[in-house]
Amino acid sequence: MPMVNIAGKEVEVDEEGYLVDLSQWNEDIAKYMAVEEKVDLTDSHWEVVNFLREYYAEYQIAPAVRVLTKAIGKKLGPEKGNNKYLYELFPYGPAKQACKIAGLPKPTGCI
């Protein structure tokens, strides 16, 4: 699988650019992935990215977008737990893009 050099470190990514080894993740990698995805990382983006990392730590999967939306609504409030808010942050799919930035695999059920 392809290797990319991120901030002086060689990391392995899959053919779609997702990080292979989750434990290598750091903020530099997140920033690199964000540039790849053409996302300007703001605090609001980080909030979702960090949420996803916590979700993964708890359940060992990257959630489907519907599940992510619902779970964010529960944790961060309904003004954030909706498609409009999340798609504004991650126009090409919140689950897909935010997972990549968070260093998670592509969500299960994302075909």
Binding site: Y59, I61, A64, R66, G93, A95, K96
Partner: protein, 131 residues
Amino acid sequence: MSDMDEMDDGSGIVKKFMFLNRKAPHGTVYALEGLEVVLITAAFDQDVSMVFTDDGVFQLMKGIDSKGIEVKDFSKTYRALEGYDIEKLYVDQASLDARGLTEDDLIVDVTVLSVPEMANLMAEQDVVISF
């Protein structure tokens, strides 16, 4: 695509799907693949139930540590099922008994069924898929 659950063709047909899990969590890929299929099926708004029987009951056991065999421990993922609106989890009583397990040994809340109850539940399904 991540937004596939946005698409609704309006057919509105809901079938009863049962996923039957009969194998130990590790050693074969059945348990993990079965779980992934269930998570994918959840996006299609079907009536999904999961059954754990035979060595399949080990899939739900608390305190699994798979480090020694260098595979991912996905047992925590069963706890995510609720968020996917998959809440019908059934376990075969005889399989628990035969392995010295009780409901308290399991990582999620389940309904424990006797063999005749399980047979009735299976008879009600439109589709039964075995892993």
